[in-house]
Symmetry: C3
Subunit: 465 residues, 3 copies
């Protein structure tokens, strides 16, 4: 079998060449399609997350958020992360634990267990487990029983930070230090946890959105009417786009004009499944000519292959605290709206979830403006294969005692339009690159990154919506 | 493997020969049952409808209704027909389109797309598709991009007629003209569309009902107390039944007496999945001795292998318009009644859906009175195999510029009962045949059909219910 | 393949040897786990119940309750038992029938059939079936049709007893007499049927509870706060446990002290799926020093592999009739409580259902206190294999004209505690054995059973809850 993503496989992409041609499209041969199948299979290497899968093993090398601190108080909480059933609990001395859900004794769920002064006790026969999996007590066994010394209950290490509970599900001997990013404390902003919610599709299509600034002027501006009020580019001109690889992953840029101001908006992917971005809806802090920080740091954590839970830190100004709940519930990210409203004003939720439970790459037709998504998948595949071959993934080596520098910079320039539209667009791209290069060369950064040059021919200047 | 329906396979039909014999019945060998399986498999040749299946390819050779015209206005409508996910939309210039649901670009559902002056635009990155699948615009690509010329989005032709939207899902080069039947305009009647509804079982068991007039005096009369008030045969006598093959399919007859009147009721199957019949509930127009037209033309369109959507045209008299909604919601056709009522007064819905999601023919025991169902399956199988061998199916050649003649005739005769009951029954059958022969010989008909002679010994005259 | 339960397979039990070791636990080799699988498979030999499965065939050798008499009046009742779809009905002459759900003619469900003076008539085409499966009428066939003589509809024998409907689903020629146990009539008690309910897990984990008195002092006393008020052992001391094989199956004992009284509580397993026990909640009849009868006789009847329906007879005193409904709905047996209450006060339902839809024995770690469960599985496996090899299972030979003696005895002794705790525990165990031996030697018993000696080292005397 040829590896997905190889040139040979790409070469077989199917293009329907016929008007009213759906009849032939159904039965066309396609990469990833076994004989007799109608729909090609998903790219399992990038999308499957269970124990032992290539992507699952890669994601397990990083600390992952799995619940809010306030969700785990005196009762245990059953969770599913990376297709594993687990239970979180806090014992009465305050220790936080994450254990395999089913009791090692006879399989009863520990979500019905009772937290003790130390550890959690299964309700059925009373086995008592410490947060590291030590079996502390088997009360129905004889006093001299050594059964409890023979085994540990499966456990994962936990870490709490600013209201989120993180777990590390990878090989214990390779556990990395818990990473602190330089955006975790930003003067003038309050850090709050968003309201976690589960989205019924694969993690990858949610994450690819980060590498795809292109959907912003379409989905969030022209289609659904200016979701984001901060960077309101003129409707008459499509912005320019850009992508730059960084030591942590990549940044994806959007640059466009509104009268005399050129706005530069970068979003950042921190591998494997974090992104940082500006919530332009609340961009009251974006004063022309200054840098404004990422308002959100967001994790897309796979629940299983077809469900993903979203956690984030959001940064709010004093003046926004009154309407914090509205800000924390991001627009168009949830599936709880009436169907008619979903149709009339679709958001990320509708666009992404409807790509199927797991999007089928073999059915896509990518263009030049999809180079961000292509680069995203390439970088991800490299890291997955690196882990598979026994190497450490990129990003783990970053923690050395001080916050990790990140690369998102948003800003704007006052510069009147050039007469020639193409010249003006060239200017935009130069300004955006300049911002990226300065971010990557920042003296606070510990890495000097090679900027991947991705020349882009420029979007069309007209758009009939 | 022997073909289902072959004599050899039929020869192995299992007959349980033991009182209280369920224990042995479970484990009996049966046609269509693999070793280790308990329940034989369905007859896939007649019941599976997806792309590339024999029956699916046959059904795709005909225009199929898929929505009401009024259901597709300014918002797109996602549908599933023949196990394909599609979207219907109307652009702002009024063109109607039917496209593959998922965008060719990155797979987002076009049910969240926005109709434009011409075509529909995907919400995510703005690709714009015309009704024939032409890619009109890829707004985020460069102005000189030729990507959009490289492919078409999968599309199907559409046609609207009297409030229904039809699509043609077969090979484009074999697209037939849209058929107009001679019942589409009947003087004195208003044509209205019924209220479509999805029934959770395979299309075949709904359709076989057409070929089975036998259930009428049982289910609709004796069991559930005279669903149909028009042809109320005396309870003391079972009607006679008859079946005649026609150029379009077949007609199924029911003939019986009520005092001095002999009522003849034929129903018509127009291959592959239409039937026409008289809704005897509203038979106020059946004046003794006159012909009355079919009140309904009904399609059973497979949604997938285990769901079927029902569309129909219904013909109402002036005086019935007041209670049109009640008439259009046919009695006992829907599953929304309380369970106790379903049990106490079952209708077609309960009888058919409970045959299993796909009825298992290998478990049936058919008798002489099932010859209509047997003939129905035989004709269907012939057509499926004809298409599979590259031929055109029956019915396509019928359109030649004027309405297609159909063969349903309902009427009645005033004729006092003969003394001898068997003689009287013989008379009924002769009258029914006479009506059928006249229909088939009608000068308006373009075909002279050979009447398949199916002698029937006659039902029992007594019935203890 | 090695047989599950064999020594070789047991020898490969996996013990996780690492703190925070969940990562390695997931991928560990385990018995019952195919390559590439994460979770070992269930023990199919003991848990699968469909026709033709080893355990299913064993269970079919016994009369099984399937509904309350009062649930089957003038309407048929569809049921699923041992993974077979059936219908119960009562014809107008009062005969009770149990038939295969789907009509032999064309498969319509007989739950929509109409009971006649004799038999039940299918709603669709009127075939009429007697309670033994005889086809009494095929009304649409000709008067001289012999079709109905060619086959029987699949039927099972029925028996009604004290408000329960029983069916026998095994080989007809091996049908045993209906068993009457000596607990069916107990002077001073009213026999009532409990309220049947379906539990969403395999029958085995419900049944094993019988062989596991150990969960009582943990789940029902320490964890959830004294569900049972009758035998309230001191919290400071864990009771002793014991198991004794009987001719009918086994009894499981619990013995403990409350001040000067030593309480002996035995529960009884009558193979294959009955147990008898004292509902200690309503133990107002337990006068110190007297024997008190089992209050409940309970069947766990598999609906299918992952659902089980519970039927029981319960014995109430005059004074309990006022609150009969509360008594009949046993505490903690149902899943209809709010989730928070389930977590704060779990009962049998939470402990057992959360063992997974089918508990995975290969993941368990059993100790000395699980010898009852181990013995239970061993006895069950012996019987399943006996039936598989053509023998009759234990229990069938028991019916010889008078009620079958059963072996549950509950009682108590006034005896002050010994100074030495270990000596006192030894005394408890001796008292419990004495009660069991007397039961097994009862002159009313028809068998003299060999008591299986299972020395038990004694539970720990302390328990920190």
């Amino acid at each position: 079998m040829r590896k997905p993503g190889s040139r040979a496989e790409k070469g077989k992409k199917y293009f329907l060449k016929q008007r009213y041609g759906a009849y032939y499209d159904r039965l066309a041969p396609r990469p990833g399609k076994a004989p007799g199948e109608r729909i090609p299979r998903e790219d399992a290497e990038l999308t499957h997350v269970g124990p032992g899968t290539p992507c699952g093993e890669y994601l397990r090398r990083f600390w992952q958020p799995c619940a809010l601190s306030k969700e785990v108080q005196d009762r245990p909480k059953a969770i599913k992360i990376l297709d594993e059933q687990l239970v979180l609990f806090r014992d009465r001395s305050g220790q936080l634990g994450c254990l395999e859900l089913h009791c090692s004794h006879r399989g009863t769920s520990l979500e019905f267990g009772v937290p003790q002064e130390r550890g959690i006790r299964c309700c059925y026969h009373g086995w008592l487990f410490d947060v590291d999996g030590t079996v502390l007590d088997t009360p129905t066994e004889a006093a001299d029983s050594r059964l409890k010394e023979k085994l540990f209950h499966p456990a994962y290490p936990t870490h709490e930070h600013s209201g989120l509970i993180f777990i590390y599900m990878g090989p214990p001997e390779r556990k990395p230090p818990f990473p602190i990013f330089d955006t975790y404390e930003v003067p003038g902003y309050h850090v709050m946890t968003g309201i976690p919610h589960v989205v019924p599709c694969n993690w990858l299509q949610l994450k690819e959105n980060t590498a795809d600034p292109i959907h912003i002027p379409i989905l969030h501006q022209r289609i659904s009417g200016h979701h984001f009020s901060g960077y309101r580019f003129d409707d008459s001109q499509m912005p320019e786009f850009d992508w730059v690889e960084t030591p942590l992953g990549m940044i994806s840029g959007l640059v466009g004009r509104s009268q005399d101001v050129v706005w530069v908006r970068w979003s950042e992917w921190i591998m494997p499944n974090i992104h940082q971005f500006h919530i332009t809806e609340s961009a009251g802090d974006c004063v022309v000519g200054t840098f404004c920080p990422p308002r959100a740091t967001r994790w897309h954590v796979p629940v299983d292959n077809t469900h993903t839970i979203i956690f984030d830190y959001q940064r709010l100004l004093d003046k926004e605290l009154d309407r914090a709940e509205a800000v924390l519930k991001s627009m168009g990210q949830r599936g709880d709206r009436p169907y008619e409203e979903q149709q009339r004003r679709p958001g990320d939720y509708e666009a992404q979830v409807s790509q199927r439970p797991i999007a089928i790459h073999a059915l896509e037709h990518l263009g030049a403006s999809d180079r961000g998504v292509i680069l995203f998948r390439k970088l991800l595949r490299q890291q997955i294969r690196a882990v598979q071959s026994g190497k450490d993934p990129r990003g783990l080596q970053a923690m050395n005692g001080r916050p990790i520098a990140t690369y998102l910079r948003n800003t704007s320039f006052v510069v009147p339009p050039k007469r020639d539209a193409a010249e003006d667009r060239k200017l935009w791209r130069e300004l955006a690159r300049k911002v990226a290069e300065e971010a990557l060369g920042d003296s606070e950064s510990r890495w000097k990154a090679k900027i991947t040059t991705m020349p882009y021919q420029g979007a069309k200047s007209e758009f009939s919506g």
